[in-house]
Every structure is written in C-alpha cells, then in structure tokens.
C-alpha cells in the first residue's frame, strides 16, 4: 500500500489542544510522526519582560491552564531566588497545599479526557464532577476557578478562610472513595486493557535521552520526583511515596497517575493539619514597595520608584502534574524581569513522540497521546 502523510490536528478530537500531529502511514501502521507546534504560541516569555514581577503571575495561570497554581509556584520560586526574598513558612505550606490540590485537579482532568478518548463516556462525567469540587475549594480562597493569580513574590495574596480545613478534609474523604471507583471503571473493563496494554512503550533509557519526565518517566520504572530528590517549599517535611510502575506503556502511566493522586491526598492531609495549627503571616516582611502590598495590586506610584536592588539570577524546578517544569529568571535590577525562560515538561515529552508512536496503529494514537497528557498552553507558551 502506498505511504502518505496525514494531519491529525489542529482540530482533531485526539489533540486535546491546539497542535498538529503529522503522521506518515502505510495502511494502518505509523511509519513516522512530526508534531507541529506553535498554534498557541502567545509570546509569554516576551510579554513577561514588559511586566512587573507580580504581574507575570497572571500569565502563569494561562501558561498551563489545568495546573495554574503549580506554574505560579514555579515562577514565584525562581523570582524569589532572583530577588533574594524568603517567604514565611505558612505561605510555603499554603503553596504546597495549592500545588497538591492542583495535581489532583489536573490528573482528574487528564482522566476525564483520556478515558473519554478510549471510548468510555462515564468517566468523563465522573471526573468533571469531582474536579469541580477541587475547583470550588480553590474558589473559596482565590475567587477563581482556573486562573487564580494567587501567589505573590514573598508569599501568597491572602490567607485561607477559616472553613478551608474542614472543606478540604471533606473533599479529600470524598475523593479517596471516588478513586476506588475510577479504578473499577477502568481496570475492570476489558475495553480499557485492549486499548492500553503494551501501547506507546518508552523505556527508561529513551526517556532520559529525550528528556521525558513526570509520570511518563516514572511509568518506565525510574524513581525520580523533584519533590523527593530536590525538595522545594517544605516537601522535605512531609511524608509520601513516589509512584512508580514498570510497564512503560499506557496502562503503566494510568497506574502512576492514579497512585500520584492518592499520594497527593496523603500529603494534603499532612499540610492541612499543619495549616490548622500554625497561624501566622503569609507575606514576607520588608518587601520593597514596588512589589505591592499583600492585599492590593501594585500601586501606581510604585511604578515610578527607581530602586536600588541587588541583581540576581533565579532558577527553580517544580514537579508539576505533567513532569519537571523549570524556570530561569534574570533580574537586572529593574522592576521587570530581564529574561524569563520556562521549561515545559510536555514540550520535551512531545518532542520524543517519534519514539513512542512509530510502529503502532493509527487507532492507537489517541490512547497513547492521551496518556502523555498534552497541555499545549505550556508547550507553546
């Protein structure tokens, strides 16, 4: 049969975003793939050079729209290193709480979209139902469902409401039961196994050579998690396990993500307990005035102040729901970052697409790409 190139995207149910997977096929067999990115390139790194440090947080929510708080955390950690600011401990715990809830929210969104691709419709409805509970929790202290603008250089915008701990515990109890249900729906279904087992295999060596991180790397048996290996915030103070599987296929990635959500619940129970018993400030003291007060946006007059502030370079790495995200912030002594550079985990995971798609069938592409969990906002930035 003759070979041909077909486009899967930019408008295709498989893509989960705005990108184009060009596939060279012979009949049903995939011979070569060439992902075409950039359809959502919004120039976030360039706009950031024109914004104040706290204004870039607005863009971070939109960079990865299913894991906004994790990206805020990433950027804030790098900025604080560049600006030589240390946040108070309570703020760090709040950020951890945010990040772990965000991980659960992001993974549930992945579950809803991925299992829908395989052909099971119910998990989408279950997933969106439970994700809304997590978003309600975010809404109680940030006021928004998806774009939070919550973290600030030096802390977080506002403290958690007094009802937060009770609400959080209720949601965690509910989710613990639901995850059991999720597993029954998927792992008990022969359709799921027929469409996922032994597909999209990417072994550990290939993962490392191509920069693949996150659940994809851990599904290949590599026990790497920045929360354990290079603890940021206060991840050294909480107790959890790194989810690992050894199948390196789509099912293994499913298992890793489900286990990660359970571990997130474990972390959250610890951080919520800590937050209940340790009130305190959530913003660093003696911040330069142009960084703004904790409850107000940056003041207009703050824009005009010429400051004499130490230069610096900040680097941070965060275990985002999709993998290892990194930020590199250059502070040249002005109100704006001189250069902001982000490393998106999915950027690297998609660049290895040739390694885990070639040789499989066209019909295998949706489950394989679904297991990668692409979020194009952070790839194209």
């Amino acid at each position: 049969m003759s070979e041909m190139w077909i486009n899967m995207g930019p408008q295709h149910p498989m893509t989960h975003g705005l990108w184009n997977l060009r596939v060279r096929i012979d009949g049903e067999v995939v011979l070569d793939v060439d992902p075409e990115m950039g359809y959502l390139h919004r120039g976030i790194e360039k706009i950031s050079e024109d914004r104040h440090y706290n204004e870039v947080v607005t863009l971070m929510d939109r960079t990865c729209y299913v894991a906004g708080l994790a990206w805020e955390h990433l950027y804030i950690l790098a900025s604080e290193q560049a600006l030589h600011i240390t946040p108070p401990e309570r703020a760090q715990y709040i950020r951890m709480t945010c990040e772990e809830f965000q991980r659960i929210g992001s993974h549930i969104m992945w579950y809803a979209a991925f299992v829908n691709d395989i052909g099971l419709m119910t998990p989408f409805l279950y997933g969106m139902r439970d994700r809304d509970l997590v978003l309600d929790l975010f809404q109680s202290f940030t006021g928004a469902r998806m774009t939070y603008e919550y973290m600030r250089v030096g802390g977080v915008r506002n403290d958690l409401p007094p009802t937060f701990t009770d609400q959080a515990r209720k949601v965690l109890d509910w989710l613990t039961d639901r995850f059991r249900e999720y597993d029954q729906l998927c792992l008990g279904s022969s359709i799921f196994h027929k469409r996922c087992d032994h597909l999209g295999v990417l072994k550990a060596n290939d993962c490392i050579a191509h920069g693949v991180t996150g659940p994809m790397l851990r599904s290949a048996g590599v026990k790497r998690d920045l929360r354990k290996d290079r603890p940021y915030a206060r991840y050294d103070a909480v107790d959890f396990d790194v989810a690992v599987a050894d199948g390196a296929d789509v099912t293994a990635r499913y298992l890793v993500r489900m286990e990660e959500m359970r571990q997130s619940i474990r972390i959250l129970r610890q951080t919520v307990d800590w937050l209940e018993h340790h009130p305190g400030p959530v913003m660093a003291e003696h911040l330069p005035r142009w960084l703004g007060a904790p409850y107000a946006p940056v003041g207009r007059e703050g824009y005009l102040l010429k400051r004499n502030y130490a230069k610096g370079v900040g680097f941070s790495a965060v275990e985002e729901p999709h993998g290892e995200a990194q930020a590199y912030v250059v502070n040249e002594g002005t109100e704006h970052p001189y250069r902001v550079k982000f490393r998106s985990p999915i950027f690297a995971n998609l660049s290895a697409a040739r390694q885990y798609l070639v040789g499989y069938r066209v019909a295998d592409i949706p489950p394989i790409m679904g297991s990668v969990d692409p979020c194009i906002g952070e790839v194209d930035r």
Partner: protein, 158 residues
C-alpha cells in the same frame, strides 16, 4: 557535587576553554566555557559527571552579546548543573548539543527562532513555534512590543 568537583573533572578536558565554575544556589554550579569546546564539554558533563538528562536550552540577548545556557540533571548526584557560553551578537552560533543529548533538539529549534542563535550541525533546524518563514526574532531586545494595530501589519505579511 560542588563547583570544585566540577572543576576537577572538567579542567583537564577543556583546558583554557573552561572559563570558570561559579557557585549557583540550588545547583551543582555554573560552568562558563568557550563555545569552541562545546562538544567536549557536553560529552564530559554527560559521560564523566553523569548528567545524562538535558532539561533545558535557552538563550539570553545581552544586546552586545548573547548567552546560551543549558541545564542538565544527574540522577546519581540528584542535582542540576548550569552550563553557559557567550557568543557575539554578530556571529551567534554554537555547536549543537543534540548529538550528545537528543532532547536538545526542540529546545535548540526554539532558541534559534526566538533568540537568533544558530546551532551548527543541528539535524532539523526548522521553525517550531513561529510560522514558517517568520522573519523576526521576538526575544531579542531590539524587538519591541507594539500596539496590536501596528503589529498586525507586521505579522500578517510574513
């Protein structure tokens, strides 16, 4: 791993092309090198220092010159290392790292189109994020952010 450990391994291999190893908070160190020795350095960092995982390649435009930086991770040391080299703005090119770390491929394509730094012997240097034939390099400092109306004219006719 400390900056001294990096110097001890890298200095004999690179000689005068190693410009120095500085301390960097949260990292094993920041290695500054001359671009002539790029491939030697990449091989030494990957094979001798076991930084098998290249995470990020980026470029910074310092107006008078440009900087290329690489971030790599070692599973045994559980640390990152930052490698950086300066290239003149008029002749901005450096040897590709994708022969050593395949993951550099897309990062270098991105750096090439946004910061205008050419990577020699790159297997596939095409536009990644901007449309084919896009004539501008947005992350250069000389590329100013315009009002949308002006910009529309500028981007539409590429």
């Amino acid at each position: 791993m400390q900056p001294d450990d990096l110097t001890r391994v890298l200095a004999p291999k690179l000689g005068e092309n190693l410009l120095g190893v500085e301390a960097f908070e949260g990292m094993a160190g920041r290695v500054r090198f001359r671009r002539e020795a790029a491939l030697d350095l990449f091989r030494a960092v990957r094979d001798d220092l076991s930084f098998a995982h290249l995470s990020m390649v980026g470029g910074i435009d310092w107006v008078d010159h440009r900087e290329v930086f690489y971030v790599a991770w070692s599973d045994s040391a559980r640390q990152y290392v930052l490698l950086s080299t300066d290239v003149p703005a008029t002749d901005a090119h450096v040897e590709t790292a994708s022969a050593v770390w395949p993951s550099a491929n897309w990062h270098e394509r991105e750096t090439w189109e946004l910061v205008d730094i050419t990577f020699d012997h790159h297997p596939d240097l095409r536009h990644l994020l901007t449309p084919d034939g896009y004539a501008f390099h947005p992350l250069l400092r000389s590329f100013k952010i315009h009002e949308p109306e002006e910009l529309e004219v500028k981007t539409r006719h590429v």
